[in-house]
């Protein structure tokens, strides 16, 4: 009888008479992680700054020179002076870095060389389209990958499993640029359904508000499909591996022995336990939605943060590149933090240790 009671809550491995104050423990844990993250961020920013400083000066001069060649531009000396002022190139590395940090904390990342507007302004212009694109792709990814992963795990070593596993691996092995080129060939060139690239069509200005929305949506179809297909594989495999691990656990055997229907065993007992890791991973990848898809956006010329920063990086726009790199580092740390917290929140077993 006791055994049955324990089985009814597969998650309830924690003994009920523990005297921890959960909220306290979790907030302490979060604070500790936050402090570590800040330290890591400082180091990462320092390494990135070091890298920017170590770029051969002739390169910086070349960039500044080509910038000064543009009609109506500042003079070469002014560009170099601006660079030195923003990045403390005239100072030694440490004080230069501290100066840069000071500006960065105040939200001043300098003016972008390529876009000739403040870095933060360009960032605001481009990040939202990336977020929308990434968000939609993320939802589709979850809808497709998780059920397939579970099906593959429950039907291990059947034809279905093999098919799903191979499809997952194939998606995982597809280089983005090749898949995008194939998509363009089939859907843009041969079928003519979508434009080759860009976010808006050529008669965008003449369209009504609804038409403009539809136009943008149509331009986002291929990038989103690409993103989904490219990223679906790893999530599918991850779900399958986790589900298999859970299915091999003792409590599943017990649940089966108890005579529960297979549906109940899988969707009530097993799936809930798989959710622990899934939620952690998916939660951790939420901040990444703001990072933009560097390659996909570039291939489809979607003016999101990924494409904008690609252009900046290739053009040697140091203020923007520096900002983007630090921004990515922040997102990674945030993702790790979220997944750690979620892990603690979702899985009671973690809280004890």
């Amino acid at each position: 009888m006791r055994k049955a009671a324990a089985l009814r809550q597969p998650l309830g491995a924690a003994a009920p008479d523990e005297t921890y104050n959960w909220g306290d423990v979790v907030s302490k844990f979060i604070i500790k992680r936050l402090i570590i993250s800040v330290f890591i961020l400082i180091f990462v920013a320092f390494i990135i700054y070091l890298l920017m400083r170590c770029l051969p000066t002739s390169y910086l001069e070349q960039v500044a020179r080509s910038k000064s060649m543009q009609p109506g531009s500042k003079s070469f000396e002014e560009w170099m002076a601006q660079l030195s002022a923003t990045y403390g190139m005239d100072k030694d590395i440490f004080s230069g870095f501290i100066g840069w940090c000071g500006n960065a904390i105040r939200g001043d990342f300098g003016d972008s060389w390529k876009w000739t507007v403040p870095v933060v302004e360009k960032f605001h212009d481009s990040v939202w389209i990336s977020f929308i694109m990434g968000g939609i792709a993320f939802i589709f990814e979850i809808i497709i990958a998780i059920p397939l992963g579970i099906i593959a795990a429950t039907k291990q070593y059947t034809k279905t499993d093999y098919t799903i596993t191979i499809v997952a691996l194939a998606c995982f092995s597809l280089p983005t640029f090749f898949f995008a080129s194939l998509m363009k060939l089939v859907f843009s060139v041969k079928l003519g359904w979508f434009d080759l690239g860009g976010l808006i069509g050529r008669n965008y200005e003449q369209l009504s508000a609804a038409g403009q929305f539809a136009d943008k949506a149509a331009h986002l179809v291929m990038p989103i499909v690409t993103l989904v297909v490219i990223s679906i594989g790893s999530l599918m495999r991850f779900t399958r591996t986790n589900m298999l691990e859970v299915l091999n656990a003792d409590y599943i055997r017990t649940a089966r022995a108890k005579g529960l229907s297979e549906n109940k065993v899988i969707y009530h007992h097993a799936f809930r336990n798989t959710l622990i890791t899934l939620v952690t991973i998916l939660g951790g990848s939420l901040p990444g939605l703001f990072a933009g898809a560097l390659i996909t956006e570039t291939l489809y010329s979607i003016p999101g943060i990924g494409y904008v920063s690609y252009q900046s990086m290739v053009a040697g726009d140091i203020p923007f590149s520096m900002f983007y790199l630090v921004f990515l580092a922040v997102l990674t740390l945030l993702g790790n933090l979220i997944s750690d917290i979620l892990y603690a929140v979702v899985d009671p077993r973690v809280r004890i240790s």
């Binding site: 890591i40 070593y157 280089p175 790199l325």
Partner: protein, 518 residues
């Protein structure tokens, strides 16, 4: 199996030292078990076959193919070059004794005078007298009364010398035109007798000059148009022909096409010549099985060498990352304490460094510095390796941490085995299965990263081929649309190789896992 066991049993009974049943279990070594499990996995074996094919294709293919990596191919094409222009003269053309003796103002006055049928006109204080010397041939004299000198003449016909670069003297031109327009049979110039045949001037039977109403001018600076060429050309033009073939004195035949240019009221003559050009984007043929690329290089050969580069880079990068990862992860896991803490924080930091953007920035910087492609390739490998080790370090550390606590390690400690032997003989071999799986998988992802960079033009550069930079050509929409053989084969090779690495990695993972039951 039972036969084997009995066999083993009889052997065992012969061997007096072996009485234990567990001896029988050792008929298959752990390695053989892994191998057996791997071979039973059909998908993984397929992956292995694909990999074997790719290796043979890339490494032996380069030796078998008759072409070299950057061998250029040429072809002959017919190109239409602007050769000459033919114009029928409908305006007076002036020849003057000296450039100053009949300036353009005087020319304009002459035209006015002709319209009004005046005999004389005046320009800038000089008086000119017009005398009609032949059909549409006017001589213009300056000076008054009897001391008149020939200043210029105006006509529709033009006198050209038979020799290149030679000019017919002014007075001789005058004599020729006078004779031609009056249909005379000859004239005397500087005590020399000349005869005229049609519009051809003969000096003792030799053709020296001719007069013609058509102006045929070469459009290329180094071309001299012979009289016979001009004559034939003019004949064709007068008949309204479009095609024209001419064989010159050396016996070379060239084809010309004639188009009428209404804007200039002239006929454009285009010479059709055979020109040697790069054999770019030629379709697959028996010579080039996959056609040629934008530089006129054999696609199949490029594909082989590209595979070689991609695989080389993949292997070297993975070896670099594993070396750093195993050493740092091993130290971290084995020693623990503050060393572990320090190394793990370094791993955390490296985890946060966004590798793709950094490689793009460095690639752009190397572009700007015009770095040598070979050096660049080495840098690319070092950068990729140096940014990729943290995940391997984490894996090795985790493995060693858990292994360290297991009973067999306690046993090695209890038996007093020295610590270097404990690490290399007992700890590392237990990490290797996981390591091999991770390395195989990361070979695939490294190849994708390299290909992506090369695709963006920031990885492997031109004289070297790489699957990525072969597909790079697809950025040209015309190639994307029309030349599938340029980019599809490279993409298929890439996907097949990466997929094969992943399949083999997956199969190895399953094979190494003793819990796996089939």
């Amino acid at each position: 199996m039972s036969d084997q066991n009995q066999n083993q049993n009889t052997q065992n009974t012969d061997n007096q030292f072996s009485l234990n049943d567990d001896r029988r279990v050792r008929t298959l070594s752990p390695g053989a078990l892994v191998l057996r499990r791997f071979i039973r996995n059909r998908v993984a074996v397929t992956g292995l076959v694909i990999l074997a094919f790719m290796f043979i294709f890339s490494f032996l293919g380069g030796a078998i193919t008759p072409y070299s990596e950057d061998q250029l191919f040429y072809k002959y094409t017919e190109q239409n070059k602007q050769y000459a222009v033919v114009k029928e003269n409908t305006e007076y053309r002036y020849s003057s004794l000296t450039p100053k003796s009949f300036p353009s103002v005087a020319q304009a006055k002459f035209v006015l005078a002709r319209k009004n049928n005046q005999e004389t006109f005046e320009s800038k204080g000089t008086n000119y007298t017009i005398r009609e010397e032949g059909e549409e041939f006017y001589a213009i004299y300056t000076g008054k009364g009897k001391v008149q000198t020939l200043a210029a003449f105006a006509t529709f016909d033009i006198v050209s010398s038979m020799e290149a670069d030679a000019e017919v003297p002014f007075m001789m031109q005058y004599e020729i035109l006078k004779a031609v327009t009056n249909h005379e049979s000859g004239f005397t110039y500087e005590d020399q007798e000349y005869t005229i045949d049609g519009d051809m001037v003969l000096e003792e039977g030799r053709e020296i000059a001719y007069a013609s109403r058509y102006v045929v001018q070469p459009l290329m600076s180094d071309v001299f148009l012979s009289k016979s060429f001009k004559n034939e050309l003019i004949e064709v033009v007068e008949e309204g022909g479009k095609e024209f073939t001419f064989t010159d004195e050396d016996g070379t035949t060239a084809e010309y096409s004639i188009t009428y240019d209404a804007a200039n009221l002239s006929y454009q003559v285009l010479q059709t010549t055979q020109t040697q050009v790069f054999d770019t984007y030629s379709y697959p043929s028996s010579e080039h099985w996959l056609g040629t690329d934008r530089n006129g290089m054999d696609m199949l050969t490029r594909l082989m060498y590209g595979g070689r580069v991609s695989l080389y880079i993949g292997f070297i990068v993975v070896i670099i990352e594993s070396l750093i990862g195993v050493v740092l992860g091993g130290i971290s896991g084995y020693f623990g304490g503050w060393v572990d803490n320090l190394i793990m924080r370094i791993v955390d930091i490296f985890y946060c460094i966004p590798s793709m953007p950094i490689i793009i920035i460095l690639g752009a910087a190397m572009d700007a510095l015009r770095m040598d492609p070979q050096v660049r390739m080495i840098y690319l490998m070092l950068i990729l390796g140096f940014l990729g080790w943290p995940s391997i370090a984490r894996l090795v550390r985790g493995q060693i941490l858990s292994l360290r606590e297991q009973e067999f390690m306690t046993a090695t400690e209890a038996t007093g085995i020295r610590s270097s032997r404990r690490i290399f003989r007992h700890l590392i071999p237990n990490v290797i299965p996981q390591l091999i799986v991770t390395m195989t998988m990361s070979l695939g992802s490294t190849i994708i990263t390299e290909a992506t960079l090369s695709f963006l033009g920031l990885g492997v550069k031109f004289p070297f081929a790489s699957w990525g930079n072969i597909i790079n050509d697809v950025n040209n929409t015309f190639v994307l649309t029309n030349y599938w053989f340029i980019w599809i084969p490279a993409g298929v090779c890439l996907v097949a190789t990466v997929l094969a690495f992943n399949l083999v990695g997956d199969g190895l993972r399953d094979a190494f896992d003793p819990k796996m039951k089939r």
